[in-house]
């Protein structure tokens, strides 16, 4: 168990060395969420207490999922991924390693938006430690979600298209920029099925002490459960992908 965790860190370290500076990671993972937040801020004359948590969750979500898209799909395309299957490690370890590198990038992506929020929003934090913990938790769940999605993609050349087909609707349906409470029932139901809704609501509560439709105990619990579930499902998909 400990050995597998150690090796997951080695995989993450290797991924960060390799893919941190790839154009796809920088443009979609780091620049897009920051520019998006900046654009909203300029348009509305600053970040609001309601919008800032959405921008933070958007940043960590795009940062972490972009990294997994690069690190997994690219390796699968050039056969390097098979190398991981030749090491004496479990499939969960591989999924965890890939998630950890995505996690780091997700955290990095969220920092500039957090700074913007700190400068322009005067929201009273419930507790900075709770916000930090929540961001770590949310980034972990985003990472494992990205890893699972990367392993499900059959054709690597379609990676970014598929990722964006999944990510962009979430941006509008997951309480990031539009309150779900204003949605008609059908969209509300869809929103409840999306992981980003719980992530955003958890961050919103830990940021400002308020929430839109998901109470904090539910958003936190679901975020934790989804993170672990995505990780486990990723390991199953790795095993299933072995011909």
């Amino acid at each position: 168990m400990f050995d597998d965790v150690k090796k997951a860190f080695y995989i993450a370290k290797k991924d960060l060395k390799e893919y941190y500076m790839k154009p796809g990671t920088i443009s979609w993972g780091l620049m897009f969420p920051f520019v998006f937040s900046l654009a909203f801020m300029i348009r509305r004359g600053g970040l609001t207490t309601w919008l800032a948590p959405g921008m933070i969750s958007l940043a960590l979500f795009f940062g972490s999922t972009s990294m997994s898209a690069m690190a997994i799909v690219f390796e699968r395309r050039i056969d390097s991924f098979e190398r991981l299957l030749l090491f004496p490690v479990s499939y969960v370890c591989i999924a965890l390693g890939k998630s950890l590198s995505s996690f780091v990038l997700g955290i990095i992506a969220s920092v500039p938006v957090l700074i913007l929020a700190e400068i322009f929003v005067s929201a009273p934090h419930i507790h900075p430690l709770l916000l930090a913990l929540c961001i770590l938790l949310a980034t972990f769940t985003s990472s494992t979600f990205g890893v699972l999605l990367s392993f499900l993609i059959k054709d690597p050349s379609q990676t970014m298209t598929i990722f964006n087909i999944v990510r962009f609707p979430m941006m509008f349906l997951s309480d990031v920029i539009i309150p779900v409470s204003t949605f008609p029932l059908v969209l509300k139901v869809i929103s409840f099925l999306l992981p980003l809704t719980y992530i955003t609501e958890a961050i919103r509560y830990s940021y400002s002490g308020t929430y839109d439709i998901v109470p904090p105990h539910i958003s936190f619990t679901v975020t934790i459960i989804l993170g672990v579930m995505f990780l486990y499902l990723s390991s199953l998909v790795i095993r299933k992908n072995i011909p």
């Binding site: 050995d3 090796k7 080695y10 995989i11 290797k14 060395k17 390799e18 893919y19 390796e75 050039i78 056969d79 390097s80 098979e82 190398r83 991981l84 299957l85 030749l86 090491f87 004496p88 490690v89 479990s90 072995i242 011909p243």
Partner: protein, 323 residues
């Protein structure tokens, strides 16, 4: 069926010596049966060649042994560990050189080896020294800080082999190790591979290069259409499957008709390549006498005469063709 040298008995008789034991191993991809219940064992410290034409089932077999493909039915054990159940233990003791050089593109040569060392739990204090030793051994020391993607094909191959050796594996699986390499790189690699054998490493070699395999392997299995059609030492295979010899001859001023030569006693078949007649025979001396008689009767001189045994490639084609 030319399965003369293998009926599964070497598994039973030499079980202690066997480090890889394969019994009734089968692989199906949907309706396609790629490997059909094969049996063989690989003995400790030998170079075991696994040959076959494209699509014969070589790669499927190797991938099953390495844990990269699921086993449909049958058993495979490596050093006593069941490949399907104990894949982690198996992976600790094997090194794999896949057909494509698939190390990490944006890592340097040194970083690639260090990462492999980490993943194989090579102790921290040994990792760097082993990596340096391997880089020097494979002539890559000067390229240690060059990214893998910037290496030439030959150098990529060398680094891929070096990476497979970082944890001192007991068994090395090599799939087409010399494919696409120039003569110098090939020779260098074979020297390294033979050096490994001297150190007691068992080598499972898959290759299309039949001549190389017959030169370096202790035993060879030939697989065709998912079945092992021959298994034995190179000389055993030659003796079992080849004709006694080949006579290459050019007459002067012109060759007799192919039919005339074919009708001589002891001739199996005759092929004509430009002016050269290639006569495959099971009785070389007798055919030589017959040829002399034929030449005398037709008033022909012999311009060129070459007598040789069947070569490895011809033998391979014969075994696969007959099966």
């Amino acid at each position: 069926m030319l399965n003369l040298y293998f009926r599964g008995d070497d598994v039973l008789e030499n079980h202690d010596e066997c480090v890889i034991v394969v019994e009734e191993l089968t692989k199906k991809y949907g309706d396609l049966v790629a490997v059909k219940g094969i049996n063989f064992c690989v003995r400790r410290g030998e170079i075991f060649g696994f040959l076959g034409p494209n699509g014969a089932g070589k790669t499927s077999t190797v991938r099953m042994l390495c844990g990269l493909t699921k086993i449909t039915s049958g058993k495979a054990k490596i050093y006593g560990y069941d490949v399907a159940r104990n894949h982690k233990n198996v992976k600790r003791i094997i090194g794999v050189v896949p057909e494509s050089s698939n190390l990490y593109w944006d890592l340097t040569c040194l970083d690639n080896l260090l990462f492999c060392g980490e993943m194989f739990s090579v102790p921290r204090e040994e990792r760097l020294s082993r990596a340096i030793k391997l880089l020097k051994l494979f002539g890559l020391w000067g390229k240690r800080n060059v990214k893998f993607k910037n290496l030439s094909k030959g150098l990529k191959r060398r680094l891929t082999i070096a990476a497979a050796l970082i944890h001192n594996p007991k068994i090395l699986f090599m799939d087409e190790p010399t494919a696409g390499l120039d003569v110098f790189s090939k020779r260098m690699l074979w020297n390294r591979i033979l050096g490994l054998k001297e150190k007691g490493v068992t080598i499972f070699l898959t290759t299309h290069n039949v001549r190389e395999a017959f030169e370096v392997c202790d035993r060879i299995a030939i697989i065709n259409k998912g079945r092992i059609v021959a298994l034995g030492r190179p000389w055993e295979l030659r003796e079992a499957f080849s004709a006694k010899g080949i006579i290459e001859i050019v007459f002067h001023p012109n060759n007799p008709r192919v039919e005339e030569v074919s009708s001589l006693h002891g001739v199996i078949k005759v092929e004509r390549k430009h002016e050269l007649l290639k006569i495959v025979t099971y009785d070389t001396v007798r055919v030589l006498k017959e040829i002399a008689k034929l030449a005398r009767s037709k008033g022909l001189d012999i311009y060129l005469l070459n007598v040789r045994g069947i070569d490895a490639e011809e033998l391979f084609i014969k075994i696969v063709g007959d099966s």
